[in-house]
Amino acid sequence: MNEAAQASAELTVEHDHGLHLRPAADFVRLASRYRSEIRVTNLTRAGGREADGRSLLQVTALGVNSGHRVRLTARGEDAGEAVRALSDLIRSNFGAGDHP
């Protein structure tokens, strides 16, 4: 196995629903495609908890609302790729269309 790489990014979630409902499900589905361990932190809420990026329950429980900043951290062989793809998903506002 390759030496574990690490990558991270900080960005603002702008979707009207934050990381709830469909955006959260999209995020978790995408995170589950990578082998790296992926952690998400809500930087806006005090005492920001950390979530497993593959757990819809934990990601939802971060309470990320529209305008909140999050940190993504990935550790593993495809860490860079994972953080890039997940950041793109958040930046593209979860594929432009809003499905409430």
């Binding site: 409902l21 499900a25 497993d52 819809l56 329950l57 309470g63």
Partner: protein
Amino acid sequence: MSSGDVLRGTPAAPGRARGPIFAAVGLLTGDVPAAGGDIEAVRAAARRAAARLEDLARLQRARSPAAADILEAQAMILGDPALEATVEELLASRPAADAVAAAAERHAADLEALDDAYLSGRAADVREAGRLLVAELAGVPGGRLADLRRPSIVVAHELSPADMLGVDPALLLAVVTEAGGRTAHSAIVARELGIPAVVGVEGALGTAGGAPAAEVDGGSGEVRLLAGVEAAERRGRPPRRLAVDRAHVTLMANVASARAAAAAAARGAAGVGLFRTEFLFLGEPSPPPEERQAEEYAAACRALHPRPVTVRTLDAGSDKALPYLGVPPEPNPALGRRGIRLWLAHRELWEPQVRALVRVAAQHANLRVMLPMIATGDELREARARFRSEARRRRLDVPPLGMMVELPATAASIPAFAGLVDFISLGTNDLTQYALGADRELELGPGLNEFHPGVLRLVATCLEEAQRLRLEAGVCGEMAGMPEGAVFLAGAGATSLSMAAGSLPAVLRRLARLGPDRCRAASAAALAAPDAAAARRALRRA
């Protein structure tokens, strides 16, 4: 409590309904029947429960997108690593069902502690996922409406989206629950399905559950108990019967059950232009036997007699999966093994359906059969051969056979099929999505719809060719149920329009007002329009 009593709750979905009461009981959230097993057993049960939710979500997405999202989220929760870790931890000290219920409750409470409206909704999903998993482990049914057989006011402690989507919509007259508020998932789904609902009715099961019938007003939150179904019917004004012959084309209804067909017949529909048979095949461990299918088709034919009932053979694919076929997922379900392709390839699908249809046609001359997703003459010849051989075996006749025109290539080559079918019916939903390469549910941009100039031309050409060939040509896509769509189609030569029964009054009003000449002029104006918006304006101005 006695008849005439009124229960009050939170109005959750508008509309009034009256009918017999069905008290839905079943495994409640937090119930823990005895069921053991290790973490592997829990994982396997979770996968089965999740697969069922995903199937239901795929099948019902078009009807209720919000509910489909909820079901998908519940399916994801069933496979959630955090939930699984908690279950594994609790398994050390208690039996499986107990561990699952406790783990779900722990995660639900976690979400609720964040005090956010969205998260309370998710907490309900976690509890529902836990309940379904407990049911699966214990081998008891998770659904609460499996015994619902006639159109009823459903009274329950709680109902889930899966309960409401898993039954024939014609059976759900109204929903009354003890639990929940306006944002409860059952309320959201009821609003989306147009089913009147009152939630948060304290003691509903104890009081209403014992009454024979009720009248529900989802707008005011009142549930009035009635002495009997007869009383319920006396009080109810039957919907006014529509004078559909005031339109110059035949106006028919799209239905998914014999129940809905009877309702459409009472409403005055001039026939059923599309009887979807997918519902019969849903949620069953195997394809429905000939007998069960024959009963359903015959009941619809009796209700509509002598008006035509057009039964479409099963239209499934990898996006509307039937678990018992074991069809592998496809990268592009819309372009894969679906409709007639899937049906012809599986004897367990076509054989009982062909048998049931031939048998019912022998007793009901108003039955017609329609084949979906036809691309080639060979598919039609093959399907007809199977009907013919069954008919010959029983010394009966082959029912009239029609084809759905949903593929642009088929729409552009009607003469190639003329000798092979008795009628055609345009499925404008698929025709539009295939012609524009745009999934209709994604809202990919303005103008990517039925009124795109290319789609209108395709439809018009197809209808013209049919007219020239003296082939009866109906339309059963959503376009037929939109007043401006109906104007275009009637003007372009459609002989019948079939739509959701609820769309009939508006379409009838518009067509009766315009008459054939003005419809023709409006069609011509729409065909000359440069884009979808302009075409719709032209049709609206007519």
